[in-house]
């Protein structure tokens, strides 16, 4: 699979995790692509942490949206009918208070305890955490979508080495190789891309994987 195919493959699988009626927060990059992969009978409400509920893309070029309605990634958006705007204290009250069902976001590293690192590479890159630390602590379910490795190096580790975003926060990891649940016992490979063997997935993963007795093909 090329880069674009990998992305679509991961996003299509992540879309299956969302249920009709869910309130979801979608990180920059792959997560933002999820809504276009949802079947018609699954309608979700997208929250943006800077104060929007019911976010939909702007199809038209509009200076007005650039000036008054951007999402957390500074992309001009609008709200769907029934959506609304509110301030940041309300928005993060909803996030921290468990009123967001699912948050999907990228990661630099995830480890076998469900620890997540995704906001800083000391000395190299300092994007900042924005709303990510609140989202992964507050959302009912936290899904990480990412490529399985970075330049061939594992990103799913025994222990995160980069500064953490939060402890024990990740529920599910979706990569182009498979779907991994974070369980009490450790990381459990529950679905696998039929192009790979479990051994290949383990080889690309630093943390030990428990292979589900019920391992299914990832589709």
């Amino acid at each position: 699979m090329d880069k674009e195919n990998i992305k679509s493959y991961i996003v299509a699988r992540a879309a299956k995790e969302l249920k009709d009626g869910d309130v979801v927060n979608l990180g920059i990059g792959m997560p933002t692509m999820i809504p276009s992969f949802l079947p018609e009978n699954v309608r979700v409400t997208v929250q943006a942490e800077n104060g929007l509920m019911g976010v939909v893309p702007c199809t038209e070029e509009s200076l007005e949206h650039s000036l008054y309605s951007v999402d957390a990634g500074a992309t001009p958006v609008k709200v769907a009918p029934g959506g609304c705007y509110f301030d940041s204290t309300v928005s993060f009250g909803l996030i921290r208070g468990g009123h967001v069902d699912v948050t999907v976001l990228g990661a630099l590293e995830v480890d076998e305890k469900g620890n997540l690192s995704n906001w800083i590479i000391p000395g190299k890159k300092l994007p900042g955490m924005g709303g990510a630390m609140d989202l992964v602590v507050g959302a009912k379910k936290v899904i990480v979508t990412m490529e399985h490795t970075q330049k061939g190096e594992p990103k799913i580790l025994k222990n995160c080495r980069l500064p953490l975003t939060a402890l024990n926060c990740v529920d599910l990891i979706i990569t182009e190789m498979g779907v991994i649940e974070v369980t009490e016992e450790g990381l459990k490979l529950v679905e696998i891309n039929p192009e790979y063997t479990p051994e290949q997935v383990q080889k690309a993963t630093e943390a030990r994987l428990i292979i589900s007795e019920n391992l299914k093909p990832m589709v």
């Binding site: 951007v70 301030d87 996030i95 900042g128």
Partner: protein, 229 residues
Amino acid sequence: MAKFISVEEAVAMIPDGASIMVGGFMGCRNPHKIIDALSKSGKGNFTMICNDGAKPAGPTGEEYYGVAKLIHNHQVKHLVATHVGLNPEVGEQMNDGSMKVDLIPQGSFAEMIRAGGAGLGGVLTPTGVGTIIEDNKEFTHSVQEIDGKKYLLMRPIRADFALISGFKVDRVGNVWYKGATRNFALAMATAADVVIVEADNIVETGEIEPENVMTPGVIVDYVVDGGSI
């Protein structure tokens, strides 16, 4: 009740070294007229408390958008923000030691400013527990365990000035924000000694329904006419 002043008068009030909260998000509805004038004022050494460092290119052709102007001009000695990834100059100035940057989780940031304006002793949040946020003693007071769960006690934040952009501002200073631009505005307006609102539209009192006022005019000190956009 707010007093209506010119952008020049607003900038004249802000001294070198002031701590300044700025509303808006990634440059979107920073109070652009005031920031622009401030960027040409020659003043500096500011502590900016602001969600982000904005970004280089603005949607109407600005070379630097909003607070990115002040950062580009090296007028900011300390930036307290939640995300600075869209403005590469923040990282550069941080690395060359010319600007101090403190990063705070966005939800905590909002709540800490709210606490500063609402007379609360701090914010007890689960956000940041087990991370390096715990080590930033300037903003994190302590780690507390309450009924078996860990929280960070984050300190209240206040500033000398709050600079905010409002879509509609009436004659007594009541403010209504359009779209996604409300963000930290109400919290900041409570947490600064002097509150200056840049109005996209100055409207007659009564045009904003009393229920729909988003920042009460009684906490707005000054209004600057932002003029047509």
